[in-house]
């Protein structure tokens, strides 16, 4: 982990709407300093006497040096917590903890990378794209969502990427279909060396399968329900195969959220695989 996480009470600098999403920029120096692409933060929601006990996790979309360091989050309204966040105004304060999680590993030498984002998953790809380009990598984007208003970051992707391919399930923008449908073509055309992906589990599973067909490495950032985000509660686990070949239930918040795609047992998410370490009636050593 790049330095320890910190808790910061930050002032909201700006709020904006981006199609179906809300973006909040918060002054959070301690977090911005330590940020690396792939990190996330957790936000306390509902105010001081909130009945919502768990912090909400969000990828960091962007950090800027203004005011000692700001972080920007991008989110869609899903339930009461994100609805409360969407009501925040400039000068309100927010309680953040971060940066959290294991960031994206970067290639040592320049290479060609395809960055795949499904819905709000795109949010964490741009800081990654910057870091890759600084290392001389070529970056191609594949962004998708069910409908046009939920494709996040298309403009920025077009500016940054060598190519940008957009998909929507209803065909309202780009190609009709999903990111996994177009990915083989993009990898082949770009002669890509590596894939990075953020999005729902099902998308990550599909992306990992495509990368495997091409025999190229894939890094995925998973989203699992988290009660703490700091590694103490054990609620966020996913079955992941370790270097020793043994499957363990590992914490997405601290050992992840970024994993090598082929190490995540996507088909077994939501179960305890019978051969996982410590599985009932299973292996015990």
């Amino acid at each position: 982990m790049a330095g320890s996480p910190v808790q910061v009470t930050g002032t909201v600098l700006t709020t904006r709407r981006v199609d179906a999403y809300h973006a909040l920029t918060v002054v959070a120096p301690g977090i911005a300093d330590r940020f690396r692409p792939g990190h996330f933060v957790t936000v306390a929601v509902g105010g001081r006497d909130s009945s919502m006990l768990t912090r909400r996790a969000f990828a960091v979309h962007d950090v800027k040096p203004d005011y000692g360091g700001t972080v920007e989050l991008v989110f869609g309204v899903r339930g009461a917590g994100t609805a409360w966040l969407a009501d925040r105004k400039a000068r309100d304060t927010l309680d953040l903890v971060g940066p959290l999680g294991r960031p994206f590993p970067l290639p040592r030498d320049p290479c060609t990378c395809v960055l795949v984002g499904d819905e709000h998953g795109s949010a964490s790809l741009f800081a990654l794209g910057d870091a890759l380009q600084q290392r001389g990598c070529r970056v191609d984007f594949v962004l998708g969502a069910p409908s046009a208003d939920r494709v996040f970051g298309a403009l920025r992707a077009r500016r940054m990427g060598e190519t940008t391919t957009l998909t929507t399930e209803d065909g309202s923008l780009g190609m009709r279909g999903t990111v996994t449908d177009v990915l083989p073509g993009v990898i082949a055309d770009a002669r890509a060396d590596a894939v990075y992906a953020c999005g729902p589990m099902a998308t990550l599973r599909g992306v990992t399968a495509v990368a495997a067909q091409f025999g190229i490495p894939v890094q995925v950032a998973v989203e699992e329900s988290m009660a703490c985000g700091i590694g103490v509660c054990m609620t966020c686990v996913v079955p992941v195969i370790g270097d020793d070949g043994v499957t363990r239930m590992v914490r997405a918040c601290t050992e992840g959220p970024v994993f090598r795609g082929e190490r995540v047992r996507f088909d077994d998410v939501g179960t305890i695989p019978f051969d996982a370490l410590g599985a009932p009636g299973g292996r015990h050593a």
């Binding site: 006990l53 768990t54 329900s225 703490c228 103490v232 054990m234």
Partner: protein, 324 residues
């Protein structure tokens, strides 16, 4: 003047009464990013089992109003992994470590106590009695005074005499005082309460239980009145037995409420998920509240709510300044 916050679990002195709750502080390393583990009254480990355990499938958590349902299923490295990789770090950091143990049979609890008896640096052993008894069709030990007492007696016998044994009780019982008394008669040096009452939540969109396991343990402020009631009843019946109170403590006021009900120490669980600095903050707030109320010693506030209506708080005892 600062208040004297020392407290005792049987004969073991803790410098302050704020502990982590079992299963809520990780291995200790995760919290150490935010505050020193050696400043805690004690660090309580997750419940350690004999073999490594993968736990329950996800989703393991669901938020409820002022509460949290969890079904982690005691995921952990097993006692060997704990002794190899987790305890040494806690000892090295100078954390007073209370090791929680969980088992499915009396034999398993006893075997765990024996394994721990050989290890250095254990401040106390806490028995998580909210585990299903595989020999009694999965009925949890904590629901049955005699099964609980049997576990306590055998763990007590296997544990070095200088290490206190704490029995952790569940509120899901008809008569918590009866179970508490059985545990004390079985040899428990102290009691901890409450473990999570069992709850359930159904997602009305998917029309399925929100947790993969179906039911889960409820924690957080939602359960605090239940915790206060349990501590109150047990302290009234067994005033000499040290009680570690827990259940929804998020502030110093909450901690003081449990102290006034009869707890001599309090543990913070779910609040850590929201505020990783919760333990030092709760301690600071508790100290301020005691001072505001004129207490020189935490001990003078323990169980004070039990005094008859209209009676004044106990006079302070200040032996050092006595002329005698």
């Amino acid at each position: 003047m600062t208040a004297d916050l020392r407290t005792y679990l049987a004969h073991v002195e803790l410098p302050n009464p704020v502990l982590t709750a079992s299963g809520c502080g990780g291995t200790g390393r995760e919290l150490a990013h935010f505050s020193d583990v050696h400043r805690l009254g004690a660090f309580v480990t997750r419940s350690i089992t004999m073999a490594p355990r993968a736990g329950r499938p996800t989703p393991r958590m669901a938020e409820t109003p002022s509460g949290l349902l969890n079904a982690v299923g005691l995921q952990g490295p097993g006692v060997d992994g704990f002794l190899e990789r987790e305890l040494p770090w806690l000892v090295e950091r100078g954390a007073r470590t209370v090791v929680s143990i969980g088992g499915g049979t009396v034999t398993e609890y006893t075997a765990l106590a024996r394994r721990l008896a050989g290890a250095d640096g254990i401040t106390a052993v806490e028995i998580n009695l909210s585990c299903p008894n595989v020999e009694d069709r999965g009925r949890v030990f904590a629901r049955d005074g005699s099964a609980a007492a049997e576990v306590v007696a055998s763990v007590r016998a296997a544990t070095p005499y200088e290490v206190p044994v704490i029995a952790k009780l569940s509120p899901d019982v008809a008569d918590i005082v009866a179970v508490a008394r059985a545990c004390v008669d079985g040899g428990a040096d102290a009691l901890a309460m409450i473990n999570n009452p069992v709850g359930m939540s159904i997602d009305v969109d998917t029309m399925r239980p929100a947790l993969a396991a179906g039911t889960g343990g409820l924690s957080g402020p939602a359960v605090r009145p239940l915790a206060v009631r349990c501590v109150w009843q047990v302290h009234a019946a067994l005033p000499g037995v040290p009680i570690v109170g827990m259940g929804g403590v998020t502030t110093g006021r909450d901690a003081l409420e449990l102290v006034l009900a009869g707890a001599c120490a309090v543990a913070v669980g779910t609040a850590l998920f929201h505020d990783p600095y919760a333990c030092p903050r709760v301690l600071r707030e508790l100290e301020e509240l005691l001072q505001e109320r004129g207490f020189d010693r935490l001990a003078d506030a323990v169980g004070l709510a039990h005094r008859p209506a209209g009676a004044q708080p106990r006079p302070r005892t200040d032996l050092e300044e006595s002329s005698l």
